[in-house]
Symmetry: C2
Subunit: 334 residues, 2 copies
């Protein structure tokens, strides 16, 4: 059986089972946004993401500086989703012979700006030759009230930060030849894809104030990532389509904007569930951050979408299609 | 300027300088075997290594099970070189479509055997599609008396563990079509390359007993890695060629065995310097481990080799040629 025909969810499940025994002492192991390990009394949050040329990014689309930033920011997003504070980064970098010094210099300038913005120290890594550019960042953070995917309960209200679907539209524009600096409205969409900035402060405030029961970052698309929360929490969810926060730019350009918001991916926003009694406290944060209630957790283990006419439709909860989806994102996004 | 013509040492140096400011609070940052970070009162040792198909390994040479083991063991080697205890691993894996389930299953079986042997928990990671196989392991360990590269002083005696040059000869045999299971003496050499087992217990004992002043793992070859110790310690070294520990198998097969031992790479043995007054205590360890004195630290900042006739010859201290050398190792090793 080849990997294309393999159900990746099963692969990840098999790996989890295989390594379960050795992981008994680990607070959070395989299967959350990041792993949590104990170091003395400190809870450390550890995550790593591979960015591979032509799978996760296209060389000609992505300015080196923004790629350097994004390679750190996608990892920051995982730590933000647990309410943690990113602290130390390691970089594995595979570079083809064709890579010129200017590109390398720009890449590191972008990486540095993201470390500086977030108070992160780059402490180690490995550079090697490769046929395609490979960026492997490991990020280590600390967390006090670590928020997992598994605490959502029926009745809890679902919120998302920012707007959804912009990154997918940005990628679509890139594929059509649009580049940064041409028009303002396109720039906003292009930047959503090329230069995402995860709301790490929001994640930390939600954690410090203990306002949320479950949280995840939306990297694989709202429906898949909401599916993760439902699966880990043993519940379902309903989402009001007309409440999905959309940017005016996406609305202007994309007729399928709701599909983009539901399944676009690469948003790097936060999706979280809030117990009803804590919603008043949350409203204070709404002055500082764009946070939108989009639905609620239900006991029926399914994902339902409700359209503007009130019609309720069951949608399949998408599983862990990371592998296939990420590829699609570059290679066959409409 | 393209990367082939770039002095990689300068690149690493530039990166170190660029990120120096953000790293002030980090006990050991860029430029040792691994980074050391503080988590509460605990010193954590963090390292990561990329293994890329056709750069660091060749698919047809490397049984999946041994590749799974090696991908963890090369990282364990870095932590062993600081006297630490490996604890948590994260795996980033890029797999081509052609990869079949049996290969994946074997790879994870090998990885698991290495985690079990060393009491390591696999806590997280990322799987993605890729054109070539990419293995990116991050390993986190703990250390009490962390041994750096920088503590060697003139007069300290240099020791290595195990034998040197076998892995290079093993790779050479693989390139000539020799495979595991054909002859016993070839198997030993092939295994040195395909299935290295770093002496992690030795590293920990040396650290616990505070016997050594500087230590490094020999991954890039004795002369380069000794060069690192000299550079970081601000000294030089002399090596007695006839004392280099060679396996009978290497001696039998390779006329250039001394060159292989000096510059072979991938040995994953430990190289360390010992103050003279501690050599008596070290001798207790010699019953348990193969440890060989091969030379000593001198104040003159150069690397000298002394042949069996007592002729002393200066050798250029090889810098950080990781990048080019690793490529050579696969593509143009004699």
């Amino acid at each position: 059986m080849k990997l294309t025909r393999l159900e990746e969810k099963n692969l990840i499940e098999a790996i989890k089972q295989e390594f379960l025994e050795s992981n008994k002492a680990v607070p959070v192991g395989l299967g959350d946004d990041a792993a949590v390990i104990k170091a003395g009394d400190t809870d450390l949050i550890v995550t790593k993401d591979l960015l591979i040329e032509d799978v996760h990014f296209v060389f000609s689309y992505h300015p080196a500086r923004l790629l350097g930033k994004k390679s750190l920011n996608v990892n920051i997003s995982d730590i933000a989703a647990m309410g943690g504070m990113p602290m130390y980064a390691l970089l594995g970098l595979g570079l083809p012979e064709r890579t010129d010094l200017e590109w390398i210099s720009d890449f590191f300038a972008g990486l540095k700006s993201a470390t500086r913005e977030n108070g992160i120290a780059l402490v180690g890594g490995d550079i090697s030759r490769a046929k395609k550019i490979i960026i492997s960042v490991t990020l280590i953070g600390e967390g006090k009230n670590i928020i997992r995917r598994s605490g959502a309960k029926p009745g809890h209200v679902l919120f998302v930060s920012g707007t959804l679907g912009d990154a997918r539209q940005g990628l679509l524009l890139l594929k059509r030849g649009v580049r940064l600096g041409e028009t303002k409205y396109a720039d906003k969409l292009l930047k959503a894809f090329l230069d995402p900035t995860p709301p790490v402060q929001l994640g930390q405030e939600l954690s410090r104030r203990k306002l949320v029961s479950a949280m995840i970052d939306i990297s694989d698309g709202l429906s898949i990532d909401l599916g993760h929360i439902c699966e880990e929490s043993g519940c379902g969810a309903e989402v009001f389509l007309e409440r999905l926060p959309l940017s005016p730019e996406l609305c202007l350009l994309q007729r399928k904007r709701l599909a983009f918001a539901l399944r676009g991916g690469e948003d790097y926003q936060l999706l979280f569930s809030v117990p009803e009694k804590k919603i008043r406290s949350l409203s204070e944060l709404q002055e500082k951050y764009r946070i939108t209630p989009i639905g609620r957790i239900i006991s029926d283990p399914g994902l339902y979408v409700i359209d503007k006419k009130g019609r309720r439709k069951k949608t399949e909860i998408k599983g862990w299609h990371h592998f296939r989806k990420r590829v699609n994102r570059i290679e066959s996004c409409e």
